[in-house]
């Protein structure tokens, strides 16, 4: 895959990318022939722009439609692959683009492509809060998400709990002690494991065993001791 991961877009490249986009804006002109009939390289470029727009729009939603997002990203990957077939983009690309690409437009686009893809995908992982490397949350969070006031080192906290992308992860409990989360508390259902999942990652998922209340403990003791036959436990099946 020719995508770059974890690459922050630098300021200089942002200007470059804007330039590349401006040049390709002709596709918006309705008098031009249908995109499908245009030469592949140019068509890809305009499709790329359209896809980038869609991706950005999707990421700006407070809760992006994951299916839409994934399909657009995958389509972007295809377009990127077709736009630079000759240029050997290294697995960890570094701008500027690989030397030897004749077309100056494409050359500047490659760097912009990689950089913008990287930053957009970074946005995605920000949404899920799963970024393994600690990232300051202050930048580029989509509107609607509480980015201000987030404590530093949030990335590190994510590594404590299992990666569920849910703000109800155990690791965050300490941060929100003063907030009443009683509606999310449920002894028998631990958000960390989202149910009894006996997968290989038994460690983090099982760190909070379901708490039994006294009545159930008594009942279980009776069953074990044999004074009571096993029957439907109280409290369930209301």
């Amino acid at each position: 895959m020719m995508l770059s991961k974890g690459l922050k877009r630098k300021r200089e490249e942002e200007e470059e990318e804007k330039e590349a986009l401006a040049v390709d804006a002709w596709w918006l002109d309705p008098s031009h022939p249908a995109v499908a009939q245009a030469p592949p390289a140019v068509a890809s470029s305009s499709l790329f722009d359209l896809s980038v727009l869609k991706l950005r729009h999707s990421l700006r939603q407070s809760e992006p439609d994951l299916r839409h997002l994934v399909l657009v990203v995958n389509t972007l990957r295809r377009i990127q692959a077709s736009m630079a077939p000759a240029a050997a983009l290294p697995p960890v690309p570094s701008p500027p683009a690989a030397p030897g690409v004749a077309d100056p437009l494409l050359a500047s686009s490659d760097a912009a492509l990689s950089a913008s893809m990287a930053s957009l995908l970074e946005d995605l992982s920000h949404i899920e809060g799963l970024s393994q490397a600690p990232q300051p949350l202050a930048d580029e969070g989509p509107p609607g998400r509480p980015t201000g006031g987030a404590p530093p080192g949030l990335g590190a906290l994510d590594l404590l709990g299992p990666a569920t992308g849910c703000l109800l992860d155990d690791g965050l409990e300490g941060l929100f002690e003063d907030i009443d989360t009683s509606m999310y508390d449920s002894e028998l259902w631990a958000p960390a494991s989202e149910g009894l999942k006996p997968g290989p990652e038994g460690g983090p998922g099982k760190e909070e065993a379901p708490e039994l209340d006294e009545a159930e403990l008594d009942y279980l003791m009776d069953v074990l001791v044999g004074t009571q036959a096993l029957e439907r436990p109280p409290g369930l099946g209301r």
Binding site: K54, S62, L66, V70, V73, T75, L121, S125, A163, S193
Partner: protein
């Protein structure tokens, strides 16, 4: 298949006298119950409307049982998740009926995050003659009571009430796209973009996670779950489809976590049809087992495919729904229509399959005769009891009279949700905020 169809329309929003479509009235799911006596619809406003078929009377043989409104209730309300600062839509994504086991009816309805079990029951008697209350319901002073009487049950006008019996919440981080009742009638599953959970109807505060395709690093996400369904007879077997056009069949006996499939269905890509949009149009929007349990049917953007459970490498049958759109994929990508999720249904005998399209068209394919038909659900083109006329889309060249050209199709009129009566030729078609019910003509 020359089916003479008698038409009878029921406007979903009959309670309001609107001539324009309010967004809350947009129907988002349609489902017959197991006997076909009831038909449920869910809409974007979180409401469920249930229609009941009239008992056929001997005097009016020509009037086959028609569907009338039986019950209406608000299933889901808009919610606000304060921790994430998100509004949770009340739109009903799916309704699934439970088989009837007593006088009451039970159904599951779900929005993006929460599944609810509803009980719909009738009340046609009420007690009269209370001792402590008078006729208007006011409490009586016990000191004034000198005699006691036993309240008697008297008939009253039929009242249908819907009560929520279970609420299954807080188990899905992502948006729920499917629910499916197991053939054991004790469990059901709910599927979101990345996970599938198994529930017991009696237990609302825990569920088992049986499928999890979430990558450790979200940057590696390339595929999501799009639909899931239990096998109609084997309570250990289920299938789920993906955005990459694959179907996985899983056996819950093999392991507790069904991340590894038992069978993997995928058709190799046709190199001649390859385009930037190949993956998007291969994304499966619906998967349904046949009533027999021997086949599965999948719907992707342009086709419906029937798969034999014993053949994983390619479908048994492929039906083109609207192949004339293949050259328009770029525009459809631009206006997002390429992401529309169409459903598909089997008829009771698994011999005919049906799915929707644009311009309020829907298509039926007869698997035996290989004939297909395009019909339209619209008020302008059909009067009550008129026979539906087959429609035809003109692809190029000379357009005949009554044909419609591809460029004239209205892409805002999409038929995403349809349902087929379990044993008779009665179909329900949802066209935006209108519900159409068609049945075979009786001679």
């Amino acid at each position: 298949m020359e089916e003479d169809i008698d038409t009878r329309k029921i406007n979903n929003s009959f309670l309001r006298d609107h001539s324009y479509a309010t967004e809350a009235d947009i129907i988002s799911t349609v489902e017959f119950n197991h006997t076909g006596e009831l038909l449920a619809t869910g809409d974007k406003g979180g409401r469920v409307v249930i229609f009941q078929r009239e008992q056929e009377s001997k005097n009016q043989v020509h009037r086959r049982g028609e569907y009338n409104v039986y019950s209406t209730f608000q299933s889901h309300e808009p919610e606000f998740d304060y921790l994430k600062s998100l509004e949770i839509e009340e739109k009903i994504n799916k309704i699934r009926w439970l088989p009837q086991q007593n006088a009451a009816y039970f159904l599951l309805s779900t929005n993006d995050k929460t599944v609810k079990l509803w009980k719909v029951s009738e009340r046609d008697k009420r007690p009269e003659g209370y001792n402590l209350k008078d006729e208007e319901g006011r409490l009586r002073d016990p000191a004034t009571i000198t005699t006691l009487r036993v309240p008697v049950l008297r008939p009253m006008d039929l009242m249908v009430e819907a009560t929520p019996r279970r609420v299954f919440a807080n188990a899905h981080t992502y948006h729920i796209n499917s629910i499916s009742v197991n053939s054991d009638y004790e469990t059901y599953m709910s599927a979101d973009d990345l996970r599938i959970n198994l529930w017991n109807f009696e237990i609302t505060n825990q569920s088992f996670n049986i499928v999890d395709i979430k990558p450790a690093n979200m940057e590696e996400l390339t595929e999501v779950i799009t639909a899931a369904e239990f096998h109609p007879h084997h309570c250990n077997t289920f299938v789920y489809s993906s955005s990459k056009g694959t179907i996985r069949l899983c056996d819950m006996r093999a392991s507790a976590l069904c991340d590894r499939h038992t069978k993997f269905f995928e058709e190799p890509e046709d190199p001649s049809n390859r385009s930037f949009f190949s993956e998007i149009i291969s994304s499966i929007s619906d998967v349904k087992f046949s009533h027999s349990g021997r086949y599965i049917m999948t719907r992707d953007y342009l086709t419906v495919k029937v798969w034999d459970l014993n053949m994983e490498n390619r479908p048994m049958e492929t039906y083109q729904v609207h192949d004339y759109l293949r050259s328009k994929l770029c525009s459809l990508y631009e206006n997002d229509c390429i992401f529309d999720k169409f459903e598909c249904v089997w008829n009771g005998s698994d011999s005919v399959i049906m799915t929707g399209s644009y311009n309020n068209f829907f298509r039926m394919f007869d698997r035996n005769t290989k004939r297909d038909v395009t019909l339209e659900a619209s008020r302008e083109n059909s009067k009550p009891r008129a026979i539906l006329k087959p429609r035809k889309v003109c692809v190029g060249g000379k357009r005949r009279k009554d044909e419609i050209s591809v460029d004239s199709l209205d892409f805002s009129k999409k038929i995403l949700h349809t349902a087929w009566h379990p044993s008779e030729n009665i179909i329900a078609v949802a066209a935006t905020n209108n519900l159409y019910i068609f049945q075979d003509k009786v001679n």
